[in-house]
């Protein structure tokens, strides 16, 4: 008899654990998530050199598709416009209605960012495929905002909100 009740108990516990999986998925999709950063385009802010393993970051996801919550200098992860299965990590260099001065290969010198779009660039300007290639991106593609570096421990407390790359590229003088 004891074995039947044990099986029954085990089954019950498994079902309870399974019923919490959708909750965990919802939290991961809408509140926060841990993501691994790959590649060198955000050097020196993230993945500063090749000798230490890749950074793992805490990603804040609540309300990030709202243009009001995306600010200049935030580091964001978003779906690559040219390939929706890829994820890019870049820094916001201009929010909606800002004018920014662009770099090669963007066809125009100064561009005004449309409503609910952001201009993104990597901190490592020369090894980065960014808005200079694909233009401003819709905030609907944004997956999350980098809140802090979680791993490796040597990178704890590293500053991610310090402006990198080309500096402030916003154009305030509208007479162009």
């Amino acid at each position: 008899m004891w074995s039947t009740s044990k099986i029954h108990n085990g089954l019950r516990r498994t079902l309870i654990v399974i019923s919490w999986i959708p909750v965990a998925m919802t939290v991961n999709e809408h509140i926060c998530y841990v993501a691994k950063i790959e590649g060198s385009s955000m050097r020196p802010t993230l993945n500063p050199n090749e000798t230490i393993p890749s950074d793992w970051v805490l990603l804040w996801k609540w309300g990030v598709q709202d243009a009001m919550n995306l600010r200049y200098n935030d580091v964001i992860l978003f779906k690559a416009p040219y390939n929706p299965t890829k994820v890019y990590c870049k820094r916001i260099k201009g929010v909606q209605f800002d004018s920014v001065s662009t770099n090669y290969p963007y066809p125009r010198e100064i561009v005004q960012i449309p409503r609910n779009h952001v201009w993104v660039e990597g901190d490592n300007t020369f090894h980065s495929i960014d808005s200079n290639t694909f233009g401003p991106i819709s905030t609907g593609l944004v997956l999350g905002k980098v809140a802090m570096v979680l791993w490796p421990p040597s990178r704890w407390g590293s500053q991610i909100d310090q402006s990198g790359g080309r500096g402030d590229i916003r154009v305030r003088d509208m007479r162009f």
Binding site: V23, K79, P81, N83, P84, T85, R115, F134, I137, S138
Partner: protein, 187 residues
């Protein structure tokens, strides 16, 4: 349960509610969604009011989407808003943007030619979308190609809940009809 305190009961009820809500949400965002559509842009395929659509989420991010498919996507200029459009151009296609803007009555010859000569090549990872009702639709002609990352699903069928339970205009359950790919390859 007898002997259970009010607090415990409340805790159990809210835990059950949370799990059910999240389960439905995950099914809605990853497997299947049944939702209302509004607006004139997809007439005559979908009515302007009271039409409900069945969307499969397997096709999100433009996976396996083909020209002629009816899709749900986030609007690029307002991601909280959903739009329902038909794919009319795939990556690499050359699109004549909007020849209807050119009118040889109201415009000079140059403007007229402009609208017949403005072509866009759809970049990779993007699609060209238009509403079925071209004269009442805000689509790729305004906001340019749509990144596939904004595609949320493909519409496979629709119901009109104003129709009777059985019979009616479509001769089916609550005006049920399939939404097909209407692309005709003329080559």
């Amino acid at each position: 349960m007898p002997g259970e305190s009010g607090f415990r009961l409340f805790f159990r009820a809210s835990s059950f509610a949370l799990r059910s809500f999240c389960f439905i949400h995950i099914i809605h965002s990853h497997v299947y969604e049944f939702t209302e559509t509004r607006g004139e842009s997809m007439l005559p395929t979908l009515a302007a009011t009271s039409d409900y659509v069945h969307a499969l989420k397997r096709y999100s991010n433009g996976r396996d989407c083909k020209i002629g498919d009816c899709i749900i996507a986030a609007k690029p200029t307002d991601p909280h808003q959903r739009v329902c459009k038909r794919i009319t151009g795939m990556p690499g296609d050359l699109i004549l943007v909007d020849p209807s803007m050119g009118s040889n009555v109201s415009q000079t010859d140059e403007d007229y030619d402009d609208h017949f000569n403005s072509f866009i090549k759809v970049p990779k990872g993007h699609v060209w979308v238009t509403g079925d009702n071209l004269s009442q639709s805000l689509d790729s002609r305004t906001y340019n190609s749509l990144p596939m990352g904004l595609i949320k699903g493909k519409i496979v069928a629709a119901n009109d809940l104003n129709e009777p339970f059985w019979g009616g205009k479509y001769g089916s359950l609550w005006g049920f009809r399939k939404i097909n790919n209407i692309y005709i390859d003329e080559r």
